[in-house]
């Protein structure tokens, strides 16, 4: 079987290489890909959309419809992870561990027993490692700056590399860092499951909703120039603002999907304890 697979792979590879011989030369400035449409985007991005970064205008305006569905793909990925992994109403674990904060004594409780509510005890995971002061404090210091940088990346997609996808990933990573450096429980207190699960579709609906708003204002779907009448700016600037609105939606969707997938995979869908 392995041999057959190898033969098929070699034949396919050889066929692709054979076909590639008819490609335009490497980095040929006269190739169709670089002469047909690219010059239009490079020359007219600023004129059409007042966005200096033409990657952003191409992604979120000229071909914004594709990007909307790419965001939907990300949402779908999060949803599928949830639907396949999440075990709702999971049973109470056999034993749970509590740690006395001052002395460091660990108390193990059997199922059904409870510890009186007090500040002195904290719930800990089964695979508990002693808290590392340096890691905890270091991450706590870093997280706000990571989030600030994430917001910067989202907001500056117009004029520098960045945008909703990258910024959203950075924001999501900051919460995941919290879950890794502390524990999943702490991260869930900051971003509850329901909040994540509702914010994620809201993020994508901001994108699709911006498009639908244009449709309601009487032009084609995602034609941001219609927003001019709502935002009181000229149609070119309205395109730039429209792009910014959808970038925010993308940022929210990507951030929450990252957290959603992490929560479900790291706790095997039980949400009681993570990595």
């Amino acid at each position: 079987m392995k041999i057959i697979g190898l033969i098929i792979t070699i034949i396919t590879g050889a066929f692709l290489v054979y076909a590639a011989a008819d490609f335009p030369a490497w980095a040929d400035p006269n190739s169709p890909a670089s002469t047909y449409l690219s010059p239009y985007f490079i020359e007219n991005s600023m004129k059409d959309t007042s966005v200096p970064n033409f990657v952003t205008s191409l992604l979120a305006d000229y071909r914004g419809f594709d990007t909307m569905f790419e965001t939907t793909v990300i949402f779908t990925a999060g949803l599928v992870c949830f639907i396949l992994l999440r075990i709702s109403g999971g049973k109470e674990p056999e034993t749970s561990h509590y740690r006395h904060v001052l002395t460091g004594v660990t108390v193990t409780l059997k199922k059904g027993h409870k510890i009186p509510e007090s500040e002195d005890f904290e719930r800990i995971d089964d695979l508990w490692t002693p808290p590392d002061l340096i890691i905890k404090t270091g991450c706590r210091l870093m997280i706000p700056f990571i989030q600030l940088f994430g917001l910067y990346v989202i907001a500056h997609g117009h004029s520098s590399p960045g945008g909703g996808f990258q910024g959203g990933v950075i924001l999501g990573a900051s919460i995941i860092l919290l879950a890794i450096s502390h524990d999943l429980r702490t991260a869930l207190e900051k971003m509850r499951e329901k909040v994540v699960a509702i914010l994620c579709p809201i993020g994508v609906s901001i994108y699709a909703g911006t498009g639908a708003l244009c449709l309601l204002l009487g032009v084609n779907f995602l034609d941001y120039s219609a927003l001019a009448s709502v935002l009181h700016v000229d149609p070119i600037a309205a395109r730039s603002h429209g792009i910014f609105m959808v970038e925010i939606g993308v940022g929210i969707a990507v951030m929450t999907t990252m957290i959603w997938i992490y929560n479900n995979i790291s706790s095997a869908g039980k949400y009681n304890q993570g990595l």
Binding site: Y18, A33, S34, A208, V219
Partner: protein, 496 residues
């Protein structure tokens, strides 16, 4: 509003998917009304769009207001106008029929299930309506990803079968994307009509040849064309009935549509049939697909799995018909997309009803079903007749066109395979009728047990099923109109 139909077709289900997802966390009872409303709007828009196309010709819709090739355009002609109506109606009928079984199987995850369901419909509609080769890939990803999720939520072995499908499906999608990449390198465009305009001087280029072949192989993988079908039977069998009765009728048929779109619009029949001269090989592959599908179906002792192998054989019909390279064959293939979607829906809904009541779909579970579930089995008989190809059900007419196409092309092997598979279908279905009607056998001592009382599935499951059965006959009776008013214009003049 009517000029916005192409956008509404995709936007309404997309936005409602997010609404359902949120409603699943807030108030679960809202999910079902939202999905039914959204799909009704989609059916309305698709019918409106088809009527507009019939009246005024091709509808082109510029998304974002950018004219192609700069932006993305929706391109609706008679071919995809027809397929859109089929996709929308199948999705609506199926969700109504599947409500009870979804609530039975996923009491706490109904919201996410409906979300995936309508996202999948969005993906399929988007694939069909688009006129942009890359946009098609993006929607393909959505349809595939939701499909993996829906199929994995089934029996114990469902995740494994779905994982298998994921590997194969991803390879198929990658092949398609690679093909589009090759086309982009040599033409610089992604718009289908624009690519077709730029291609003729490049027909001799090896890159275009490779693009065509890679796209075809990718699409064949996605539609489970023999011998690339290995993922399909297990994935569809182990899934829940609500998921399999959406995916089995639609996904493979939509991929056949993509293949026909590639041949007719992007590469044009002159290139696909005249320049390449691959017809004969592909039709012979289709012959093998039909024969193997029929034989493998014969070997099954399990109703649902048997039906999945019939799906594999039906793929052979459509691929073979499209590749005969003549008008009758292409007509048969397009007509069979419609008919096969409806008859697959019919038989899979029957399986859904049986599973709901009997909790099984192996042959021994089917005993005495005619007495127990007369309406369900009545619809099953209509569906089975259509798959066999008995007039006046619609299956007969598409088979007729396919056979005429095979005769015109002089391809007697394909004709023989069609007749062989029809005969095997007779055996397959009458064997089931026999079990359902006569078994369990009495013990010849006069101690017959009293017959089981009638125990039909709930009304919401039976009524959509009966509607589908009636549609099967109606489509059969109105085949002439469908062919003369719609399909005739879907095939370019050049193809005779």
């Amino acid at each position: 509003m009517s000029q916005q139909y192409p956008a509404l077709l995709v936007i309404v289900p997309l936005l409602s998917a997010f609404a359902i997802s949120i409603a699943g966390w807030v108030n679960k009872r809202l999910c079902f009304p939202i999905i039914v409303t959204a799909l009704s709007v989609v059916v309305y828009a698709s019918i409106g769009l088809l009527l507009t196309v019939l009246e005024k010709g091709v509808v082109i819709y510029h998304l974002g207001g950018w004219p192609p090739p700069v932006g993305i355009a929706y391109y609706v002609d008679h071919l995809n106008g027809l397929v859109l109506v089929v996709v929308a109606s199948v999705a609506l009928l199926n969700v109504i029929a599947a409500k009870k079984s979804i609530e039975q199987e996923f009491p706490d995850k109904a919201g996410p299930f409906y979300t995936l369901y309508i996202l999948m419909v969005t993906g399929l509609l988007g694939i069909v309506v688009t006129g942009d080769a890359f946009n098609l890939y993006v929607l393909l990803e959505i349809a595939a990803l939701t499909g993996y999720g829906l199929l994995a939520m089934g029996e114990e072995r469902a995740p494994l079968s779905s994982l298998n499908y994921l590997y194969m499906g991803t390879i198929g999608a990658c092949f398609y994307l690679l093909g589009v990449g090759y086309l982009y390198i040599v033409t610089g465009s992604l718009n289908m009509v624009d690519i077709a305009r730029l291609l003729p001087p490049l027909y001799q280029s090896r890159a275009v040849l490779a693009a065509f072949i890679i796209c075809m192989v990718g699409v064949w993988l996605k539609m489970a064309f023999f011998p690339l079908h290995s993922w399909l039977p297990n994935a569809y069998t182990h899934a829940t009935s609500a998921a399999s009765s959406l995916i089995a009728p639609l996904v493979t048929k939509v991929m056949v549509y993509v293949m026909i779109r590639l041949i007719l619009t992007i590469f044009t029949p002159e290139f696909a049939f005249a320049t390449l001269a691959l017809n004969n090989i592909v039709v012979w592959l289709a012959v093998i697909a039909i024969v193997m599908g029929a034989i493998l179906a014969l070997a099954e002792r399990n109703l649902k799995k048997m039906l999945t192998f019939i799906v594999v054989a039906e793929i052979g019909y459509m691929v073979g018909g499209a590749w005969l390279g003549n008008r009758a064959g292409m007509t048969g293939a397009i007509l069979h997309i419609v008919n096969d979607a409806l008859m697959t829906l019919c038989v899979f809904l029957v399986v859904g009803n049986i599973v709901y009541k009997v909790k099984g779909y192996a042959f021994e579970n089917l005993q005495g079903l005619f007495r127990k579930m007369p309406f369900t089995m009545g619809a099953f008989v209509v569906g089975a007749m259509s798959i066999i190809g008995v007039p006046p059900t619609c299956g007969f007419f598409s088979k007729w066109y396919l056979i005429v196409g095979a005769l015109q092309a002089g391809h007697y092997g394909f004709m023989a395979a069609l007749i062989f598979s029809s005969l095997v279908s007779v055996v397959l279905f009458f064997r089931i009728f026999e079990i359902c009607y006569y078994e369990p056998f009495s013990d010849h001592h006069g101690h017959d047990q009293p017959p089981e009382p009638m125990d039909e599935a709930p009304l919401t499951m039976v009524v959509p099923l009966l509607i589908v059965a009636v549609i099967l006959i109606l489509v059969g009776l109105y085949t002439g109109d469908i062919v003369n008013h719609i399909i005739k214009f879907a095939i370019p003049e050049g193809l005779v």
